[in-house]
Symmetry: C2
C-alpha cells in the first residue's frame, strides 16, 4: 500500500471510527452471535487480494460488528471498565505509523526515553515517591508473572543462574487471598512454585486479606522448613473490589524479605484522585505494583504499568546477558528488554502521552469522581429497594447486588440471579457480569465506561428491576 492509498483509506477509517463511537450507544451492548457464527461468516481460505478498502470495511461491518460486545458502550457494566479513549487511539496510531522497533535503546532511543519519562509522569500522578521506576507491560498477568519470577530469584539467590528451581531443596511459598485474580495462581504455576505451594490466606468480612492469618501462615511455613517467597496484595479485587491491607502486609513480610506485589490493575487509576490514596496506604514498602491504565483510565489495551523499587532485582532476573546489565547500571541508557519478558516492544508510551496531553489528567480525575458518585448512588437505591441487597461494601465503582425474592434460596436463588442477569444482557440494553461471592451467585455492576452518565446507571437499574422482578 502506498502512502497516498493509505491517506485515502486512513481518512475513510477515521470517519468510520468517529461515526462508530458517536453512535455506539444505539447498538446492543452484548454480541448477538452464537459460537461459530463469526467464523462461519468468513472465507475458510485466505484472501488472494489485492482488494479495495471499501469492500474490506463492508466485510468488517458484516463479520465483526455482530460479534462485538461493546465495552466502549455507555451501558457496559461488565467485568471492569476497558476504556479506549479516542485521544489514546491517536497515540496508538502514531506508534504504529512510526513503525519503531523497540529491542534496545539503540534501535529506538525515542521509544525508550519517552517510556521512561511517561512512566515517571504516571508515578507522580498516583503520588508514589521517586523510589519507584516504571515500565509498560501488556497486561497485569504478565506483571504478576514477572513479580513472582523476581521473588523466586530473590528467595533462591538466583537459582536460574545455577541448576534452576529444580535444584532447590526447600519449597518456596506464595500467599494470596482467595479473592486474588486468576492470573496470580497462573503466574505461580508458570513460575514453577506449584499449586501445592500457593497458600490461600483467610479474609475478613469485607473479603480483605487478614494480615494476622498471613503472619500465622508464614510462621507455620518457616517452622516446617519452607521458604516464604511472595505475597500478592490485591487492591481492588476483581469480584468485589476487596482491598487487602498493604501496610499491614508489608509489616508482616518485612522481617523475612518476602516479596510484596500489589495488584492494583483496576484500582491504580483511583489513585489519580488524592482522596483515595489511603486505599493503598503502605504501598511505599511494597516491592512491585501493577496498574492497568487500559482499564478505568482509558489508555488503549494493551497498557499495564509495572512499577518496581529495585530495578537491579528486575534486570537481574530478566536479563540473560551480563553485558546488558552493565549498560543499565552505568546509568547511561535503559534497556527495557531486560525489564520484562519480551525482547521487542511497541512504542506504547505514546498512547499515554497523547491521552494525558490531549485530555489532561483533570478530565480523568473528574470521571473517576463521577463514577464513584454513580456507584454510591446505585448502592443507595438498591439498598433502599425491597428484596434487593448490596452484598459487598462499595469500595470503588463496582456494586455487587442480588435480588432476593421471598422464598428463594440456594440453588433456586442462584438460578434466579443468573437468569435475570442473562435477560438484561440478552436484551442488549446493558451488560453485567455475574460472579460467585461467599458461596452464591451475585451480579456485579461495574461502573466506569468513559461515556457512562447517571442516566445510564439509572437505565441499567431500571433494566435490572424489570428483568428480576418480572421473571
Amino acid at each position: 500500500m502506498t502512502p497516498d492509498e493509505f491517506r485515502a483509506a486512513g481518512h475513510e477509517l477515521v470517519d468510520w471510527i468517529a461515526d462508530f463511537r458517536a453512535t455506539i450507544g444505539d447498538r446492543p451492548v452484548e454480541a448477538t452471535v452464537a459460537p461459530g457464527d463469526v467464523r462461519g461468516s468468513m472465507s475458510p481460505t485466505p484472501p488472494v487480494g489485492p482488494g479495495d478498502f471499501g469492500s474490506l470495511l463492508a466485510d468488517v461491518d458484516r463479520v465483526v460488528m455482530p460479534g462485538m460486545t461493546h465495552v466502549q458502550h455507555p451501558r457496559y457494566f461488565g467485568f471492569f471498565p476497558a476504556n479506549v479513549s479516542l485521544s489514546s487511539t491517536l497515540g496508538d496510531l502514531m506508534s504504529t505509523g512510526l513503525g519503531a522497533l523497540g529491542i534496545s535503546w539503540q534501535s529506538s532511543p525515542a521509544l525508550t526515553e519517552v517510556e521512561e519519562v511517561v512512566c515517571d509522569w504516571m508515578r507522580q500522578l498516583v503520588g508514589l515517591s521517586d523510589a519507584w521506576h516504571g515500565t509498560i507491560n501488556d497486561t497485569a498477568s504478565t506483571s504478576a508473572l514477572v513479580a513472582l519470577l523476581c521473588a523466586r530469584e530473590r528467595a533462591t539467590g538466583s537459582s536460574q543462574l545455577r541448576g534452576g528451581l529444580q535444584a532447590e531443596a526447600a519449597a518456596l511459598r506464595v500467599y494470596a487471598s482467595p479473592q486474588s485474580h486468576s492470573s496470580v495462581q497462573k503466574a505461580a504455576l508458570l513460575a514453577g512454585y506449584g499449586l501445592d505451594n500457593v497458600v490461600w490466606v483467610d479474609v475478613d468480612g469485607r473479603n480483605d486479606l487478614d494480615p494476622e492469618a498471613l503472619r500465622r501462615a508464614i510462621d507455620t511455613d518457616i517452622a516446617a522448613g519452607r521458604v516464604p517467597a511472595a505475597v500478592i496484595a490485591s487492591v481492588g479485587s476483581t469480584t468485589c473490589t476487596a482491598i487487602d491491607p498493604v501496610a499491614a502486609i508489608v509489616e508482616v513480610c518485612a522481617p523475612y524479605g518476602v516479596w510484596v506485589h500489589v495488584d492494583a490493575a483496576m484500582a491504580g487509576t483511583a489513585m489519580l484522585v488524592p482522596e483515595l490514596r489511603g486505599l493503598w496506604d503502605g504501598v511505599e514498602g511494597a516491592d512491585s505494583i501493577s496498574w492497568n491504565p487500559h482499564k478505568w483510565m482509558g489508555a488503549a489495551l494493551d497498557c499495564s504499568m509495572y512499577l518496581v523499587r529495585d530495578v537491579d532485582a528486575l534486570v537481574g532476573t530478566m536479563s540473560t546477558n551480563a553485558s546488558y546489565l552493565a549498560s543499565t547500571q552505568d546509568g547511561a541508557v535503559t534497556q527495557y528488554r531486560d525489564w520484562g519478558l519480551p525482547l521487542g516492544r511497541r512504542f506504547r508510551a505514546l498512547k499515554l502521552w497523547f491521552q494525558l496531553g490531549l485530555d489532561g489528567v483533570g478530565s480523568i480525575q473528574e470521571r473517576v469522581r463521577r463514577d464513584l458518585a454513580n456507584a454510591a448512588w446505585l448502592a443507595e437505591v438498591v439498598a433502599a429497594t425491597p428484596q434487593w441487597t448490596v452484598v459487598a461494601p462499595v469500595r470503588l465503582q463496582t456494586v455487587c447486588v442480588r435480588h432476593e425474592p421471598a422464598g428463594l434460596a440456594d440453588d433456586a436463588l442462584d438460578h434466579h440471579t443468573l437468569a435475570w442477569a442473562r435477560a438484561v444482557n440478552r436484551s442488549g440494553a446493558a451488560y453485567l457480569t455475574p460472579a460467585r461471592l461467599d458461596g452464591g451467585w451475585m451480579v456485579r455492576v461495574s461502573i466506569g465506561a468513559e461515556s457512562t452518565t447517571r442516566a445510564d446507571v439509572e437505565a441499567v437499574w431500571a433494566a435490572m428491576r424489570s428483568a428480576a422482578e418480572e421473571s
Copy 2:
C-alpha cells in the same frame, strides 16, 4: 476527546503518517541523539492538559523524530526487517478504534473467531497441514517461554499442579545451538530449568545444529539420570540465518518425547514462497513453531504467530481453571486466554487480515523473492571484490561480510570492522548491525525493508566500500 475532535485530529494524523512514510528515505536512518537527549527534551512533570493536537504533533516532531532509528527506511539493513505495512497499520487502527476487550470468547466473540480464522489462513499460506493450530503472541520471546513451559509440564507430568518444579528429582534439560536467539536461554532460565541445564549443542561448518551431537548429548544425559525436555531448532538464526535441520532433530527426539520448538521468527515469512519450504523440512513432526509476521512480512509489531499441534498440552499448561478446559475441549468456543501468558489481548488478527486483504499475499511473495535476489546479488559482488569476504552462507536475505585489508587480523580487524560499520551508521545513509561470528566481528547486511530496491542495496554497498576502504 469527542468523536468529532477525533475525526479532525485523526485526519491530520493520517496525513502526517502518509507524509512521513512518503519522505522517510530523505531522513537519516539512524537516530542522531545521544543518551538522555530525548528525555532531556521532555517536561519532567506530567502535562496538565487539555492541549491541542497541533502542539502535540509539534512536540512529537521535536522530541521523538531525532530519536528514531527508522526501520521503515529503504536503507535500513539492521537486525532483521521490522516492516510495518501501511495496510496493517489500518488494521491496527481498526483494532484500537473498535476497543475490543479480549479476555474470553464471551467478551468479544469476533476477536476470538477472527483470530482463529486468520491464524488458519496463515497456516495454509506457509504450507502447514491442518494438524496445526495458531494463536498470536506479542513476540517470539514469549513463544519460546510458552514452549519451554509446555515442555516442562510434559516432561514432569504436570508438576505445576503438584509441588512445582522444585519438587522434581531429576534435572530437566534444554538443548539448543549456540546460534539460537538470546530469548531461548532467557526462556529456559525463566521457566526454571537453570543455566546449568541449558545444553549448547555443537554446530557444523554452516553454524547449523549437528543432529548427531544432539543425539550424543541426549544419550549422555539419559545415562546420567537427567531428563531431556526440549530442543529449540532455529530456522534462520539471528546472527547468520543458520538453519538447524528440523527433520533430523525431530528424528532424534521422537523416541524420547522431547518437545521440539521451531524458532522461525524471521524465516517463517520465507515459507510463504513454496520453493523455500525445504528449509524447514520435517517441521510437521515438531511440537511448536514461532513465526513473527511483524518482521519480514510486514504486520505491525507486535504480531508473533505461535503454532502448535497439541492444543490440549498448551491449554493444560496455560489454563489455571479446569472449567475453562471443558469449554475448550467441547469444541464450542476457543478461550485464547488459555493459549498463552496474558489474560487480555488486543484484536491483533485485524492487522493480518487487513494486510492480506488489501495487499494480497502475491505482493508479499514478490517482495520475498526480490529480497532473496538482492541478497544473492550483494553476496556475489562482495565475494568478487578484493579484500571483501562473505563470511557465512547466504541462506535467506542476510549477507554477513567482512572487509579484510592485508595485514589486519584479530583485534585490529575487529576494530576496523566496528569502525567502518559505525561510520556507515553515523553517516545516516544506511544502517547495519555488526555481530560476532566464529570468534570475530563481522557486519550483517539484512535486506528486506518493504521499500528496499536494488538501488538501495547498491547504495549501501557503495557506502560500505567508501567507509571501509577509506578508513
